[in-house]
């Protein structure tokens, strides 16, 4: 088990946006997180990605209790990557975007080159390595963002509506990529979506959020 959440709540002001008594996420599986707008999907993703701190409750990651201090969360963020619904790429080349996380992890240059090549190939974007990242289309941006996440070899990939802002062709490609990386690299994937068809074609498990609560 990669995540175990207990008695988790997230409150903004007086509004409880998340209230999850218990949630277990198994390693190496693909989870779909369904829910209407405002159900708390993105907040849950941010908490699972260690970018937001819950108001109450515990998270166990790899059976270790997560301490919500910056010094404890920073190393965890190196193993869990969030890919936004509208990912933003740094205003440089695609190559340098992928290099960002690798440089942070102090990966040697030669190794970086290999990883970047392999990651871009996996998402079918190798030909765009030298292209200015901020000039890519929505679909290309989404795929490069996935490649950027893959490059750092995460244990968990959290995708916020990965296909909602791309055309049909890219939707098919992204679903195929996610399936492939799960099968090849055994990366645990949790993605949010409104598309039930996508859920059935991609996810091993489905979670449904309604008004911040899990409906099983």
């Amino acid at each position: 088990m990669i995540y175990h959440i207990s008695q988790l709540t997230k409150i903004y002001g007086t509004r409880t946006v998340l209230d999850i008594p218990s949630l277990k996420i198994e390693s190496g599986w693909i989870y779909a997180l369904l829910g209407a707008n405002g159900a708390g999907k993105t907040t849950l993703l941010n908490i699972l990605g260690f970018l937001e701190i819950p108001t109450n409750g515990n998270i166990f990651f790899h059976s270790k209790k997560v301490q919500f201090s910056e010094s404890s969360l920073h190393p965890l963020r190196k193993t869990v990557i969030i890919v936004d619904q509208h990912p933003i790429l740094f205003t440089t080349t695609v190559y340098k975007n992928l290099e960002f996380g690798l440089k942070i992890r102090k990966i040697p240059k030669k190794e970086r080159e290999l990883i970047i090549k392999e990651s871009l190939e996996l998402v079918g974007m190798r030909h765009l390595a030298a292209a200015p990242a901020h000039r890519l289309s929505g679909g290309e941006t989404q795929r490069v963002a996935i490649a950027r996440a893959l490059a750092v070899n995460p244990k968990v990939l959290l995708c916020d509506e990965p296909t909602s802002s791309v055309d049909a062709e890219n939707q098919v490609a992204i679903i195929k990529i996610l399936k492939q990386i799960n099968a090849l690299k055994k990366i645990t994937i949790l993605f949010t979506t409104h598309d039930r068809l996508q859920v059935s074609s991609l996810a091993h498990h489905t979670l449904v959020l309604k008004d911040g609560r899990l409906a099983v």
Partner: protein, 231 residues
């Protein structure tokens, strides 16, 4: 009208002939303005970045104070610095009055708020997703700050250029703290004021042409970098 055209023609010849006195004045102007811009940038950019990037109590008050300082008149800065560096002032023994160093001090005070507030604006315009992306890719606080800074680079360069544009054309501080000493502290603006007083327009117009040319170049650069912020 003839007088104006004659002055303009003579000024143009002076510019083309690279008159030594004129060249010296331009050199002093550029040296003092560049030095003060570099110093103000070294202080103002980190101040602006910190204010924009971090959350701390009193942030709004700091921004309001910096915005207020944008309207500080040059003569007020001149008087203020004069109070410190004149013979009876706190820094009197350093003999700074009527030197280029004094002008640099005054000009730095003038443009520090410009650099800081423009940097705040540049950082604030940066999409919050850059910070989130850097963090989720494993960046620590410092690495995240560097990533955000990098995204705001064109806006920050525009801030520095705007500050240089302000300082190259100011006259109050240069006159009050520099003293307009020929060959030492005479800048384009103080020389123009002097030549006007003397009723000799040729050098004043020549310097005006150079100053306008510089301002045009600075504005071109400013708009180029401002444009790059909206890529």
């Amino acid at each position: 009208m003839d007088f104006f055209i004659d002055s303009l023609y003579s000024a143009f010849l002076l510019v083309v002939s690279l008159d030594p006195e004129m060249v010296n004045i331009v050199q002093v102007s550029l040296k003092v303005s560049t030095t003060s811009t570099v110093i103000a940038s070294l202080m103002g950019v980190p101040i602006g970045f910190f204010v924009a990037f971090e959350s701390f109590p009193g942030k709004r008050i700091v921004i309001t104070c910096l915005n207020t300082l944008l309207a500080l008149p040059t003569v007020v800065i001149g008087l203020f610095v004069y109070g410190f560096i004149s013979r009876r002032g706190l820094l009197g023994p350093l003999d700074l009055l009527y030197t280029q160093k004094a002008m640099v001090i005054g000009q730095t005070i003038l443009i520090l708020p410009i650099v800081a507030t423009f940097t705040i604006a540049a950082i604030s315009r940066i999409d919050e997703r850059y910070r989130k992306t850097a963090m989720t890719l494993g960046a620590n606080r410092w690495q995240t700050a560097v990533a955000v800074f990098r995204e705001a680079r064109f806006g920050i360069i525009a801030a520095v250029i705007a500050a240089f544009g302000r300082v190259i054309s100011e006259v109050g501080i240069s006159m009050m703290l520099g003293g307009n000493a020929r060959g030492f502290t005479r800048t384009m603006t103080t020389a123009m004021a002097l030549e006007y007083d003397k009723g000799q327009f040729t050098l004043a117009v020549a310097l005006g042409i150079i100053l306008l040319g510089l301002s045009f170049g600075i504005n071109l650069l400013f708009h180029f970098f401002q444009g790059r912020t909206r890529i």
